[in-house]
Amino acid sequence: MSLNQIRLQEERKQWRKDHPFGFYAKPMKTADGSLDLRQWTAGIPGKQNTLWANAVYPITIEFPEEYPSKPPKVRFPANFFHPNVYPSGTVCLSILNEEQDWRPAITLKQIVLGVQDLLDTPNDESPAQEPAYRAYKKDRALYEKKVKEQAKKYASA
C-alpha cells in the first residue's frame, strides 16, 4: 500500500473516532462500489451566530498522489459565494497551499475546521473571486444578503 493510501486510511480511522460536531466527511464510491480514498465528500456546517449558520456547505476534497507531501484540493460547488473561493469552487486557504502553510502533519479535521473558520473570517489579502470580494470590501450589506441567501440554499435539518 502506498504512503498516500496508508495515510488516508489513518485519516479515515481518526475521523471516525473523533470529528467535530455537525461535520461529515467520507471517501467517494467508485462505480464498482469500492472506495476511492483520494476523493472525499464532506460537509462544513456554518458556525452558529454567524451569517453562515443553519446550513451545511458541501465540499469535495481531492488528495493528490503526492499527498501528504502536497496538500489536498478543497472545492465548494462552482460559483460558491465567498471572497476566498475561486469561481471554480476551489478554496484559497494558506494551510492548503504547498508554498504557504501546508504541512504533511495537518489532519483532515484541521482542514475542515480551517475551512469552517474561513467562512466567517475571509482573508482579504487573497481574494479569489470578484463578486464576493468586491461586495465584502465595498458593500457589506449586499455581501451579508448574499451570504444569507446562500445559507438558505444549503439549509439543513
Binding site: M28, K29, A31, E130, A135, L142, K146, E149, K152, A157
Partner: protein, 1015 residues
C-alpha cells in the same frame, strides 16, 4: 541581591500575583517578574525564593529556575543540578504530600537540565538523585534496592516519568538522547520495576504512580522509535507487561478500581503505541479479557448486572472498552478470517454484548458509541479482505458457512444499533444526533458489505410498521428509524447503474410507499414539526430515481401534497420549508415530464406566492423554476408562452402594487421595516424572471431534445412573439432597474438584470430570453447612467458575454456604440476605483482574445485604452489587477484569434504608435519593468507570460526596448546594475527565446535588484 532585585519587592509582587483581582495590575507585575526571571540573577532569585516559608513563593522560586535554565547556557551544570536535588530533598523532608506540586516542578527542572546538557553530563541523573537521597555512593542497582520509604520510591518514579514526558514535549528531535536514555535510564527503569515486583505490599499510591510511570514510558518509547533509530525489544518490555498484568488477577475487588483503571490505560497504550512489543503476551491478554473465568469477563458480568456500579464507574468502563478495542484492533484480519473459530466467535459475542450496553445512548451509556469505530473497522476489513478470503477458503461449504456467519454477525449488530438509533426523548441532545449519524455511517458500510439484503430488511421494517402504526403508536420509533437509515444509505449511493436502481431499489421502496407512507405520516397530529416529517423530507430529497420511474411517479400527488403542506403550513419550521422547496425543485427538474398534470395546481400556488411578500423569497424563486421546468417539458411553445405570460403579468401587477400602494402588502409591523421588506420582495420578483430564464435553457443537445419540426415551431413562435413576452421582460427590467428609485442604485438589481439578459445569449434557437445584442446594449447604455459604481462590473461582464456569443455579427461600430458611453464617458470614474479598472481591462482583454478586429483600429482603443492599460501595469500591485492587466497585454501581444491584418496593425501600433511621444513598445516595456521590479514576490509568476510572449513576438525590438529602459533607469529597484550586468541580463533573456527558463532568469533579476535571496 542588587537594589533593583530587592527580594522584598519580589515577594510583594508574588503576593500581588496570587491575590490581586486587578488584571492590569497582574499584567504589570507579571511583566516585572518575568524580567527578573530571565535576568542573569534569575538563578539566585529562584534559590532565594525556595528558602521562603510560603509554598506559593517556593513554587514561584522553582518556576524562576525553569525560566532561568531555559534562557541561559550554564558553564557548570553539576552544581545547579545538585542544588535542585538538595531543594527537592528538603521539601520531601518538610512534607512530601503538601509540597508535591513544588517537588514536581523541581524534578522537571532536573529533567530540563539533563535534556539540555545530556551530552556533557558527567553522571547519570538518577544515580545523582539516589546517591544524594540515600547519602551514599553505590552502584545504582544497590541504591534502588536500598530504597526504604514510600516517599523515596515515589520520588524516583516521579522523576523518571517527568523526565520521559519532558523529552516527548521537546520540539527538537534528539536522536542521540534517545540512544543515551536506552542505555542508561531505561536500565534503571527496569531495575526499579524488578525491585517493585519483589515487594509484597506496595502502598496504594505507589501502585498507582508505578502504573502512570509505565504509561509515560510507553508513550516515550513510541516517540523515541519514531524519531530515532533506537529500538526496544520484547525482552526490554516484558518486565513492565508482567508488572501490569499482575494487577488484573482473576479476583475482582471494587476497592482496587483505580488500579484496574490505570492498568486498562497502560495496556491500551501498549497495544495502540507499540503493539509489536506485546506480541508474546497477546494470548495472555486475550485470555484475560475474554475467558469466562478471568478478569475481563468478571468485569463485564459486573457492569451488566450491577446498575449502580455501571453508573458509578462509567469512566472505568470506558477505559476497559478502550482496552478491548485496542486489543481487537491489532487483530482485525485474524478475527475477520476466523469467524468460524469458536474462540473468535466467543470474543465477538462479548463485543456484541458490550455494544448492546443497557441504557439510552449518550444519556446513560457511551459504550455503544465507543464501539462503532470498531465495527466500522471490522466491516472494512471484511470488504478489503474479500479476495484473500476466497483464496484462503477453497471449500464451497465452508465459504458459505463463512459468509452466513459474517451476515449473522452484522445482522445482529444492525439490530442492536437500529434500536440504539431510535429517538426516545422528546428533545434529544445534539450529541445524540451526532451519534445517530455515526450509526448511519455504520449502516452505509454494512450496505457495502451485505448489499441489498440490509436495504430490503430496512424497507420491510418500514412496511410492517406502517401496517400497525394506527393501532400501535410505539411503531412510530421503528418507522422513523427505518426511514432515517434508508435515507442515509440511499443518499450515499452513486447511481452508476440505472438498471440496478430501477430493478432492485424501486420495488423495495415501492413496498412501503404502497402501504400509504405519506398518508400515514400526514395523519399524525401536528406532523409538520415531528421528527418523522424531517426524516421523510430528507428521504424524499434523495428519491429522484424513484419518482422518475413509472412505479414511483404514481406517488407524486401524495408526495407533492406533503411537500407543499410543509411549505404552506404556518406551523413548519422555516428550515423545513426551505428543504421542502429544494426537494420540489429537484423532483421537478428530474421528473418534469411526469408532472405536467400538476401544472394547474402549481400555478395557483405560484401566483399566490408571487402576490404574497411573506413567502420566503428563495422558495418563491424555486417554485417559479419548478413550474417553468415542467411547462418546458411539454415542448409546446404556445403553451409555454402562455404560462410565462401569466407569471410575467403577475410580476408586473405586483410591481405596480409595490410602486403605487405598497402598504396594502404589509402589516403594520412590517411597515416599520418598509424598505427591507419591499426591497427583498421586489428583488425576489425580479429573481423570479431570472428563474424563468434559467428554467427555459435547453437542457441538452438541441438535436437530442427537439425534433426539426419542433425547432421550427419554437423559432416561428418566438420570432412572432404574439404575446410580446420579450417586450414584457424588457419592460420589467426597465421598471425595476431604471424607473423605481429605491432599486435603481442597488447592485443586486443590476446583477439580476444582467443575468436575465445573459440567459438566452447562448441558446441555439429563438426563445423568450433571446435578445438581439443591440437591445442589450441599449439597456446597458441606459443603465450605466443610472447605477452605483459597484454595478459597473456586472455591465462589463455582460458586454463580454455579448462579444463572446455574437462575435460573428458584431461590428466595430457596434462596439464603439457600447464602449463610448460605458467606458469613454466614464473614464474618470473608472480611474478612481481599482475594481473598475480590473473589470474594464478584463472587458477589453476578452474582446482582444475573441475578435480583436473589433477594437484594434478604433481611436478609443489607441487613444485611451492602451494608455489606461499601461497605467494599470505600472502602478497597481494588487494580485487581481496584475493578473487582469498582464492578461490584457498578453492577449494583445499574441492576438491568437487575430487575422493577418490584425497582426500587422498590432505590429504597427507597437512600433509606430506614440504615447506621450514615445512608441508603444518602449512604453509597454517601461511599465512592465517598473511593475515587475516593484511587485511582491508572490506576484512574479503572473508577469512571466507577458515577458515570454514579448520575447517570442518581438525578438528584435524587445532587446532594444528593455535595454533602453534599463540603461535609463538603472537605479530602479534597490540595487543599481552596471552596464555590463544589464547587457548580460538582456542577452541571456533574449537567448531563452521565451521558453520556460526565462522565468528563472527573471526571478533572479528581481531578487538581485530587490536585494533579496531565494528560499
Amino acid at each position: 541581591m542588587s537594589s533593583e532585585l530587592d527580594i522584598r519587592n519580589v515577594l510583594e509582587d508574588i503576593d500581588t500575583l496570587y491575590s490581586s483581582h486587578d488584571s492590569s495590575k497582574i499584567a504589570s507585575v507579571q511583566d516585572r517578574l518575568q524580567t527578573y526571571q530571565r535576568s542573569d540573577e534569575g538563578y539566585l532569585l529562584g534559590t532565594e525564593l525556595l528558602k521562603n516559608g510560603s509554598r506559593n513563593v517556593k513554587y514561584f522560586g522553582a518556576l524562576t529556575l525553569t525560566v532561568y535554565f531555559n534562557n541561559h547556557d550554564l558553564p557548570d551544570v553539576d552544581s545547579p543540578f545538585n542544588a535542585v536535588i538538595y531543594n527537592v530533598l528538603t521539601l520531601v523532608h518538610e512534607g512530601y504530600d503538601e509540597n508535591l506540586f513544588i517537588i514536581r516542578k523541581l524534578l522537571s527542572n532536573l529533567s530540563l537540565l539533563y535534556i539540555k546538557n545530556f551530552a556533557t553530563f558527567t553522571q547519570d541523573p538518577l544515580y545523582k538523585l539516589l546517591a544524594m537521597m540515600l547519602g551514599r555512593e553505590q552502584p545504582v542497582n544497590d541504591l534502588i534496592r536500598g530504597l526504604q520509604s514510600k516517599n523515596e520510591v515515589e520520588l524516583v518514579l516521579l522523576f523518571l516519568s517527568i523526565l520521559v514526558e519532558d523529552i516527548i514535549k521537546q520540539s527538537t528531535n534528539l536522536p542521540e538522547l534517545h540512544n543515551t536514555i536506552h542505555s542508561t535510564l531505561f536500565e534503571h527503569y527496569k531495575l526499579i520495576y524488578q525491585y517493585l515486583s519483589t515487594i509484597e505490599s506496595l502502598p496504594y499510591s505507589t501502585k498507582l504512580l508505578s502504573l502512570d510511570c509505565i504509561t509515560s514510558l510507553v508513550v516515550y518509547i513510541a516517540t523515541a522509535e519514531g524519531n530515532s533509530t533506537q529500538r526496544y525489544s520484547h525482552e526490554d518490555m516484558d518486565i513492565f507487561l508482567l508488572y501490569v498484568l499482575k494487577y488484573l488477577q482473576d479476583e475482582l475487588n471494587i476497592e482496587n478500581m483505580e488500579i484496574y483503571n490505570k492498568s486498562f490505560t497502560v495496556l491500551a497504550e501498549f497495544l495502540e503505541n507499540i503493539p509489536r512489543l506485546v506480541n508474546t503476551f497477546k494470548q495472555h491478554i486475550s485470555e484475560l479479557l475474554f475467558n469466562e473465568t478471568k478478569f475481563g469477563m468478571k468485569f463485564v458480568d459486573l457492569i451488566f448486572t450491577n446498575n449502580e456500579f455501571a453508573e458509578l464507574y462509567s469512566s472505568e468502563i470506558e477505559n476497559f472498552v478502550n482496552l478491548v478495542i485496542a486489543y481487537l484492533s491489532i487483530n482485525l484480519v485474524y478475527i475477520s478470517r476466523n469467524i468460524l473459530n469458536d474462540s473468535i466467535s466467543n470474543i465477538l459475542k462479548v463485543v456484541i454484548k458490550l455494544s448492546d450496553f443497557p441504557g439510552v445512548p449518550i444519556e446513560d451509556e457511551k459504550v455503544s458509541e465507543q464501539l462503532i469505530p470498531f465495527w466500522q473497522d471490522l466491516a472494512d476489513t471484511f470488504i478489503d479482505d474479500a479476495d484473500a478470503i476466497s483464496d484462503i477458503i477453497f471449500d464451497k461449504d465452508t465459504l458459505d458457512r463463512f459468509n452466513n456467519q459474517k451476515i449473522a454477525i452484522f445482522s445482529e449488530i444492525s439490530q442492536i444499533y437500529f434500536k440504539k438509533a431510535q429517538i426516545t426523548s422528546a428533545s434529544p441532545a445534539k450529541e445524540f444526533f451526532q451519534y445517530r449519524t455515526q450509526i448511519a455511517e455504520l449502516f452505509i458500510l454494512f450496505y457495502s458489505l451485505i448489499n441489498t439484503p440490509i436495504y430490503s430488511t430496512l424497507c420491510d421494517i418500514v412496511q410492517s410498521n406502517l401496517l400497525i402504526i394506527k393501532t400501535n403508536p410505539e411503531a412510530m420509533n421503528d418507522l422513523e428509524t427505518g426511514l432515517y437509515l434508508i435515507f442515509k444509505i440511499t443518499d450515499d449511493l452513486r447511481f452508476y447503474d440505472d438498471e440496478f436502481a430501477m430493478n432492485t431499489l424501486v420495488p423495495l421502496i415501492n413496498g412501503f410507499f404502497s402501504q400509504g407512507l405519506i398518508e400515514s405520516i400526514e395523519s399524525i397530529p401536528n406532523y409538520h414539526n415531528h421528527q418523522i416529517s424531517v426524516t421523510l423530507l430528507n428521504l424524499l430529497s434523495c428519491l429522484h430515481f424513484f419518482f422518475k420511474s413509472d412505479t414511483g411517479s404514481t406517488y407524486l400527488p401524495s408526495t407533492f401534497n406533503f411537500l407543499f403542506s410543509m411549505i404552506l403550513s404556518e406551523n413548519t419550521n422555516p428550515k423545513l420549508s426551505l428543504i421542502s422547496s429544494r426537494t420540489i425543485l429537484k423532483i421537478c427538474q428530474d421528473s418534469k415530464d411526469k408532472l405536467v398534470s400538476f401544472l394547474p395546481n402549481l400555478e395557483l400556488i405560484l401566483i399566490e406566492m408571487l402576490k404574497n411578500p411573506r413567502f420566503d423569497n428563495l422558495i418563491r424563486e424555486r417554485l417559479t423554476n419548478s413550474y417553468i421546468s415542467i411547462a418546458q417539458s411539454i415542448k409546446d411553445p404556445i403553451d409555454i408562452g402562455n404560462k410565462i405570460y401569466q407569471i410575467l403579468l403577475q410580476i408586473t401587477e405586483q410591481y405596480n402594487v409595490v410602486v403605487n400602494t405598497p402598504n396594502s402588502l404589509l402589516t403594520d409591523i412590517e411597515i416599520d421595516q418598509y424598505d427591507k421588506y419591499l426591497e427583498e420582495y421586489t428583488t425576489s420578483l425580479l429573481s423570479c424572471v431570472y428563474e424563468i430564464g434559467k428554467a427555459m435553457v435547453i437542457p441538452e443537445e438541441l438535436e437530442d431534445y427537439l425534433t426539426p419540426e419542433q425547432i421550427g415551431q419554437y423559432n416561428a413562435y418566438w420570432n412572432e412573439d404574439p404575446l410580446s413576452i420579450k417586450s414584457m421582460i424588457l419592460t420589467t427590467l426597465n421598471q425595476f432597474s431604471l424607473q423605481f428609485d429605491p432599486l435603481v442604485q442597488k447592485t443586486i438589481i443590476t446583477e439580476k438584470c444582467c443575468n436575465i439578459l445573459k440567459c438566452g445569449l447562448s441558446e441555439p434557437i429563438n426563445g423568450p430570453f433571446k435578445f438581439n445584442y443591440s437591445v442589450i446594449f441599449e439597456y446597458l447604455i441606459a443603465k450605466i447612467k443610472k447605477c452605483n459604481l459597484q454595478s459597473i462590473p456586472y455591465i462589463y461582464k455582460l458586454v463580454e458575454t455579448v462579444v463572446v456569443t455574437n462575435k460573428k455579427e458584431l461590428t466595430s461600430a457596434d462596439i464603439e456604440t457600447i464602449l463610448i458611453p460605458t467606458f469613454s464617458d466614464m473614464y474618470q470614474v473608472l480611474e478612481s476605483d481599482v475594481d473598475l479598472i480590473k473589470s474594464s481591462i478584463e472587458m477589453f482583454s476578452t474582446i482582444l482574445e475573441t475578435t480583436p478586429g473589433l477594437i484594434l483600429t478604433s481611436q478609443l482603443f489607441q487613444d485611451k485604452v492602451l494608455n489606461y492599460a499601461l497605467i494599470g501595469l505600472k502602478n497597481y500591485h494588487e494580485t487581481f489587477i496584475i493578473k487582469a492587466v498582464v492578461k490584457f497585454w498578453t492577449n494583445f501581444v499574441t492576438l491568437k484569434r487575430g487575422s493577418q491584418q490584425d497582426q500587422q496593425i498590432k505590429n504597427y501600433l507597437f512600433i509606430e504608435l506614440q504615447i506621450d511621444g514615445i512608441p508603444l513598445g518602449y512604453q509597454l516595456v517601461s511599465s512592465l519593468m517598473v511593475g515587475f521590479i516593484n511587485a511582491p514576490r508572490s506576484a512574479l509568476e503572473y508577469y512571466y507570460p507577458l515577458f515570454r510572449n514579448l520575447i517570442g513576438k518581438f525578438p528584435m525590438e524587445l532587446k532594444n526596448w528593455v535595454l533602453y529602459f534599463l540603461e535609463n533607469n538603472s537605479n530602479n529597484g534597490k540595487v543599481e546594475l552596471t552596464n555590463t550586468e544589464i547587457q548580460q541580463f538582456v542577452s541571456r533573456l533574449m537567448v531563452t527565446r521565451g521558453q520556460r527558463v526565462a522565468n528563472d532568469l527573471l526571478r533572479d533579476y528581481w531578487l538581485k535588484v530587490n536585494k533579496l535571496i531565494d528560499y
